[in-house]
Symmetry: C2
Subunit: 241 residues, 2 copies
DNA sequence: TTAATAGTGTCTATAAGACATTATATG
DNA sequence: CATATAATGTCTTATAGACACTATTAA
């Protein structure tokens, strides 16, 4: 047996987990899905809220993304969300049980597509409204840091990609799209400029039908490439000096 | 002992590794640092070239980034490069020894700062010139995929951030900066537009001294915030339709 | 006809792209 | 003075931002 293989097996292995930051918009506000930690005596952070996640099951999960998708489906019932890797966090102190490394994904869903599934009690999973860079209180482990990173990524990418579109159902009007951008960006978005931007970026195509209400009906659109976000050639609101 | 803790310990753990994609510019060409796999019988991918990396040592490495920095210093002697997380890759098939997950970082260095340190032979570590999305031949594990992702990230970020600046030493002229951007982007960059872009982005400040040659001497500059790259408000060459 | 929202048009400011011109060093 | 490169200026084009205006439905 080679020295290298031998030494690899001698290494104590860090624990490997996967966590998922799940965003949606409820009542014109960004929300994130959190689950409550169990309250057993030897549990870390008992009763605190945390990002959904857990250990990689090397029998069940064929890769990290499959593991993230599994946890997402388990909690929300959603099977094909927008999902991207956020990063990984690993050190000796984040979990009292020892050296752990977590691979974090973030998902964006339309609220209409979700059906929450709690483990035992309906009260141990819930949506929390985002304020600034978190939910207003500390989370278990280093999840406050991870959540802040995810929020920054979502807001940052909203400046130059079509990411917020994944917060809407399959078909939507341009006004709805504009509105969800303004929710994520936290500031008003000009209608005319937004429409030019979206249409010239080839982001959407017309869908059948219109959204009718107490005013002029609005054309429905759908994403042209729902698999990947579109990159705009510029950010919103170029900075002035 | 709680059910959760018990089950966590029962889980077979994936192997955890860290790999580093190290870029530099040599003779006006992008290069990446690779190491040769050992040739023992039970070694995976014996004799093939791979990204530098290895197991996380939970005694020595306080976190994942420290582990990446350690591996970088070990190979190049460089202690404070530009380093960012690229992503993680984990599944049951990438390493014949079992389920592994690797946390990948990418580093950007000025070639002048490097002193290669090989393990035993000077021939088992080397710089490879980049062509398109790789080095022209397959790498060990899934490192060809990882390298392609890193190249895309570097080229992509060169369109709207100051990343290529980290390929230069502390002080440089604007012409040198322009040139290294053109090397990374793989296309010529207009002098006047580039200078306006760089100066109005507040990216650099004047350093003492000039670079003299057989023509008008050039003012030396340095990065204003060497810790973080600067984001430009637009990409280069907005696409035409 | 009015209210409400969809959708378009106009004007301005900003910055990139292309390329010409001026500036300043060495040999 | 010739040459090479640094540094700046000019003109055009593209697009965002602001905001005014027109279009189309339901009540």
């Amino acid at each position: 047996m080679s020295k290298n293989l031998h030494s690899s097996q001698a290494f104590p292995r860090p624990l490997t987990t996967v966590d998922v930051v799940i965003f949606t918009v409820i009542d014109d506000q960004l929300h994130v899905l959190l689950v409550k930690r169990p309250t057993g005596d030897s549990e870390p952070y008992p009763g605190m809220w945390a990002l959904p996640g857990g250990y990689v099951d090397i029998e069940r999960d064929k890769d990290l993304e499959a593991c993230a998708l599994h946890k997402l489906k388990e909690k929300t019932g959603v099977v094909s969300p927008y999902l991207e890797q956020l990063g990984s966090w690993g050190n000796a102190r984040r979990d009292p049980r020892g050296w752990t490394a977590t691979h974090v994904y973030f998902a964006i869903l339309p609220y209409e597509s979700v059906e929450l599934h709690s483990g035992s009690h309906a009260t141990d999973i819930d949506w929390f409204q985002l304020k600034d860079d978190g939910v207003g209180h500390e989370l278990a482990f280093d999840h406050s840091t991870i959540l802040a990173t995810a929020i920054a990524r979502l807001r940052g990418k909203a400046e130059y990609t079509s990411l917020p579109a994944y917060l809407l159902p399959d078909t939507f009007t341009l006004s709805e799209l504009q509105h969800v951008f303004s929710v994520v960006l936290g500031r008003p978005v000009d209608k005319s400029g937004f429409r030019t931007r979206v249409l010239s970026a080839n982001l959407v195509e017309e869908a059948d039908g219109v959204r009718s209400g107490y005013s002029r009906p609005a054309q429905l659109y759908r994403l042209k490439t729902p698999q990947n976000p579109t990159y705009f050639p510029r950010t919103f609101n170029p900075r002035k000096d």
